[in-house]
């Protein structure tokens, strides 16, 4: 098993919100989607995925409904609430600021070349 990248809790929340922005999805779907999009770089441990989903639901950013999955089985689908959409926007903004700031600090290292 490849070593899973440790994610900050806030980052995991952001990833889940961003993924759900594409449309309602069940837990398995969220995990798969993140793994695919990140080209297997990010593997979400189920141990942290479900607690994160519950946490976001308790915060009112996502809601859950039972529905039927693509292979015709009962599954719990998570969807972004309006509050969640707003939260995603703020968090994306924060993320942008943070990464560009970190980028500035890291910058090209003199002598190493880029």
């Amino acid at each position: 098993m490849p070593p899973s990248t440790d994610l900050l809790q806030g980052t995991l929340d952001l990833l889940i919100l961003r993924t759900l922005a594409l449309g309602p999805m069940h837990g398995w779907g969220v995990a798969q989607r993140i793994q695919q999009v990140s080209k297997d770089a990010l593997q979400i441990g189920q141990g942290s995925l479900y607690p994160a989903l519950y946490r976001l639901e308790y915060k009112g950013w996502i809601r859950s409904d039972w529905g039927v999955s693509e292979n015709n089985r009962r599954a719990k689908f998570y969807a972004l609430t309006p509050a969640g959409r707003k939260q995603l926007e703020t968090e994306l903004e924060t993320w942008e600021r943070l990464t560009s700031a970190i980028g500035l600090v890291l910058g090209p290292i003199p002598g190493v070349g880029s």
């Binding site: 398995w28 479900y50 599954a75």
Partner: protein, 905 residues
């Protein structure tokens, strides 16, 4: 943000779906997830079984995920705390023996600590009941040569106008007085105060007024303010008292007001009955005719510190010395100024004993904590299996530690409630005890005196208030940490597999566990030795002090005091006539074998001292002459109080005002001034004024202590009352039977001579001795009690730890016995282990006690703080008790039933 809050609230209140349903939903979700994962693995070519296995492994702990999802719920934390509390209560209820032992042990410790703290709080910490009490300062001018620590009135008058540190300065003096013209003649305490004294403390009259400016000048008005106590007691709370005339020491005075009941005089030992204006002369010159020594209280100006005020007063007093007459200036040599917070001055000597008590009781509480911590450790060890199972089921370490801590907290809270009940009951008892003033109440008074006398009228102030509650809550949390943390951390440390495997077997408990238990025990033994050694030092001091009541015989003696200071006794002849008429009446009483009057009795303070000069040596200048205490007595004095005369003769009725002046000196006098050979020597005393004929020493008497039992013996000259009548007349009556029965007859006899003359302080000499040592006795008894409690707790601790370890090692003992070890050998094994601990603890304790006992030194009499006897006895007593306590479990181990052990495994 708002929405988030609302959403949380919704979950908190409605709790969403019922827990059961949520759980099954989550299970279904997890099942779905695993199925999809399996399908994905099958799709890449795994067998169905292998794919499922891999999917499950990848998913990890299902229970853990469940728990973590559950933990996301808002308010989950609070819910689990409640869960822990419920679980803890169930545990404690299921284990009554342990719970009861722990609560009683801790409760007693906390009760004692809270009670002593109530006293400390009421006497040392709580502000005085005056306006801005923190800025009130006690001001005095200490002259070490003559032990004067007051302020001379001219200096007070000068300081009032010159001092920049003080907003106000007020002064008082006090004296005993006689109140007549209102029922029985009564002895009262009279405070003479400056007009600003009461207003400065923020005291206003409840009826009438207090003094106005100018009333405190010399020759001012004859007005008096009554205390609430006297007003109710003597004047039946007459609401129209203002304007009534009373007779104080034979002088008519007009009542102008009554103070409120809650007013307390700054010197609590006094509690005056009446207040009269201080007749201050206006001159600030020390050579003026009349000088009073004043007690002075000042209020600091805002922003001025006590240190600044002290510096100013020192400069002031030093500057004043320039204008003193030569004799005064010499007496003032080495003078100091004192400016200290009034509160500290009032509590004064009580401070140290109270703090020592608080520390001692704190040590007892620590021992109690160590004991309970050990019990908890043993419990934690026997709950290892339970803890391991909970850990295996997914409980986190934090959660397990918290569970232990919550149980300790519950225990501490129960104990705190018990402790508070004890403190409330004890302080209420202290307050309710009255000082009986008649010897008839002697039986009841035994207890009352023991508890109440040591801190005198201060005792009335001791109560449980908010600070005591807060203090008790504080120690409850402290004990929680002390008793709970070690077992909680220790009890949850074991790794799961080990615990699960070994918990079924009765194996020797972990090395670390044992180390913890043993260190706690070590500390207990050491603390107990410290307390025992302190108690030993105090007991030895007490025994030494008891020896100080030598020089007189306190048994079968009744004493009383009367004051001849009213205008009717203004001349020596009248005072002498009073005594001459009184004594025959007293001797005629049935059962009385000897009667005497004296200006002061043994233990009572001296009230006259005089400078002396010798015939054959040129007199040193005034201020450099030696001073001795002077006591006037009637001829039968020595026989009545039982003081032996070593050399020469006693006084007889032929020593009169007209015969040659004679004196009997004590041994200290004879040794100091005549190298022991004093008989027949002559000297001059200022007691009769200057130019009086020389007095001849006709006898040498045994040394007697005055001013308490712990004062050093002073050189003393005793003179016939006929030659030097004084205004204080103390009466001593020696009886054949119980002296208390003569009390009433004594009072009647005095009134038969003068119906206006109050008699007070009627007490047996034994009572006076017991009062003189009351505080020391209480402190000694309390610390001895604490030490005994510590020893008992320690013994219980030793017993507990070793009987636990023996139970744990039952199997080992069985094997040893099976392999041929003798039962004696097993006994020796356990006792040796205990002995090693106890020895080390004892040595640590002796070391700590040696380091700490210096703190006691101010309370020690006749023993050094490193007294070998107290220390070795403390060590021996503790070691013997602890060894005995360990012998019981050791004997149990030796009796191990081999077959039972083998069968049970």
């Amino acid at each position: 943000m708002m929405r988030e809050r609302l959403s949380r609230l919704r979950f908190l209140l409605a709790r969403g779906l019922p827990a059961q349903e949520r759980r099954s939903e989550l299970d279904e979700e997890i099942r779905f997830h695993v199925e999809r994962a399996t399908e994905a693995k099958v799709a890449v070519g795994m067998t169905a079984a292998e794919a499922r296995r891999q999917a499950l492994i990848e998913f990890g702990g299902v229970e853990r995920t469940r728990e973590q999802c559950h933990e996301q719920r808002p308010g989950w934390w609070l819910g689990t705390v409640l869960q822990d509390v419920r679980y803890g209560l169930r545990q404690l209820r299921g284990n009554r023996g342990f719970t009861l032992t722990a609560v009683i042990t801790l409760g007693l410790g906390m009760g004692a600590t809270s009670t002593i703290f109530s006293a400390v709080n009421s006497l040392l910490l709580r502000p005085l009941p005056y306006r801005d009490a923190s800025t009130l300062m006690w001001v005095s001018n200490y002259w070490p040569k003559i032990h004067m620590d007051r302020v001379m009135s001219p200096n007070f008058i000068a300081a009032r106008s010159e001092s920049r540190s003080f907003e106000q300065l007020a002064a008082y003096t006090y004296l005993d007085g006689n109140l007549t013209g209102a029922g029985e003649p009564t002895r009262i305490i009279r405070a003479n105060v400056t007009a600003n004294f009461l207003p400065m403390l923020g005291a206003a009259a409840q009826i009438g007024r207090t003094f106005s400016d100018g009333e405190d000048k010399a020759g001012g008005s004859n007005v008096v303010v009554l205390s609430d106590r006297l007003w109710r007691g003597q004047f039946h709370a007459d609401p129209h008292i203002a304007g009534r005339v009373v007779i104080l020491d034979g002088v008519e005075e007009t009542v102008i007001g009554v103070l409120p009941p809650r007013f307390r005089f700054p010197d609590v030992q006094l509690e005056p009955d009446v207040y009269t204006p201080l007749g201050l002369e206006t001159g600030a010159n020390v050579t003026d005719r009349r000088i009073f020594l004043l007690s002075v209280i000042g209020r600091l100006r805002p922003g001025v510190s006590a240190q600044q005020a002290h510096a100013e007063m020192l400069t002031f007093f030093l500057a004043r010395t320039q204008n003193y007459p030569a004799g005064f200036a010499r007496m003032a040599q080495g003078q100091e100024a004192a400016v200290e917070p009034l509160q500290r001055h009032i509590v004064g000597d009580n401070r140290k004993p109270l703090l020592i008590l608080l520390v001692s009781v704190g040590l007892v509480l620590l021992i109690a904590c160590a004991n309970v911590a050990n019990l908890q450790l043993a419990r934690a060890a026997s709950r290892r299996h339970e803890t391991a199972v909970r850990g295996a089921l997914g409980a986190s370490r934090t959660r397990l530690v918290r569970q232990f801590l919550i149980e300790s907290l519950i225990l501490s809270l129960f104990s705190a409630v018990l402790g508070l009940l004890i403190a409330v009951a004890t302080t209420a008892l202290l307050r309710s005890l009255q000082i009986p003033d008649t010897p008839q109440a002697a039986l009841y008074s035994e207890v009352a005196q023991m508890l109440r006398l040591p801190f005198g009228k201060l005792t009335a102030a001791i109560q449980v208030d908010g600070w005591v509650l807060a203090f008790t809550a504080g120690i409850a949390f402290l004990t929680t940490v002390l008793t709970g943390l070690v077992p909680a951390v220790g009890g949850t440390r074991n790794d799961l597999r080990n615990a699960l495997q070994s918990a079924g077997l009765r194996m020797t408990s972990g090395r670390e566990q044992r180390l913890l238990r043993h260190s706690l025990l070590l500390a207990e033994v050491a603390l107990a030795v410290v307390l025992l050694a302190s108690a030993g030092l105090l007991i030895r001091s007490f025994v030494n002090v008891l020896r100080y009541d030598s020089g007189f015989d306190p048994r079968n003696t009744l004493t009383a005091v009367t004051l001849l200071n009213s205008s009717r006794y203004s001349t020596a002849e009248r005072r002498e006539a009073f005594v001459d008429r009184l004594l025959p009446k007293l001797s005629a009483l049935p059962g009385v074998t000897a009667v005497a009057a004296a200006s002061t009795l043994p233990i009572q303070p001296y009230d006259l001292s005089s400078a002396i000069t010798f015939e054959d040596i040129p007199a040193p200048p005034v201020g450099m002459r030696p001073a001795v205490s002077v006591v006037s007595v009637t001829p039968d004095y020595f026989r009545t109080v039982g003081t032996p005369i070593f050399q020469g003769r006693t006084f007889n009725p032929s020593d009169t005002a007209l015969s040659a002046p004679v004196t009997i000196v004590n041994r200290a006098f004879a040794n100091r001034f005549f190298g022991g050979d004093a008989l027949g020597k002559r000297f001059h005393s200022m007691a009769w004024g200057p130019d009086h004929a020389a007095v001849t020493i006709v006898g040498v008497a045994d040394d007697v202590r005055h001013g308490g039992l712990e004062q050093d013996v002073q050189p003393e000259m005793i003179v016939p009352m006929a030659q030097l009548p004084q205004s204080t007349v103390s009466i001593a009556v020696r009886t054949a039977g119980s002296p208390a029965t003569v009390a009433n007859a004594l009072r009647q006899a005095v009134w038969a001579v003068d119906s206006e003359q109050p008699v007070f302080d009627i007490e047996t000499m034994d009572q006076r001795v017991s009062e003189a040592i009351a505080q020391r006795r209480l402190i000694m008894l309390l610390i001895a009690c604490f030490a005994m409690l510590a020893v008992v707790l320690c013994a219980v601790g030793v017993y507990g730890v070793f009987s636990y370890s023996v139970t744990q090692r039952m199997r080992e003992m069985g094997i040893r016995l099976a392999l041929g070890a003798s039962r004696r050998g097993v006994l020796r094994l356990v006792v040796t282990e205990a002995a090693r601990l106890i020895l080390v603890g004892g040595i640590l304790g002796v070391g700590a006690a040696l380091a700490l006992s210096r703190l006691l030194s101010s309370l020690l009499v006749g023993v050094t703080p490193h007294d070998a006897m107290s220390f070795s006895l403390a060590w021996v007593l503790m070691t013997a008790t602890a060894l005995l306590a360990s012998a019981i479990p050791a004997a149990n181990a030796a009796r191990t039933d081999l077959m039972a052990v083998l069968r049970s495994e």
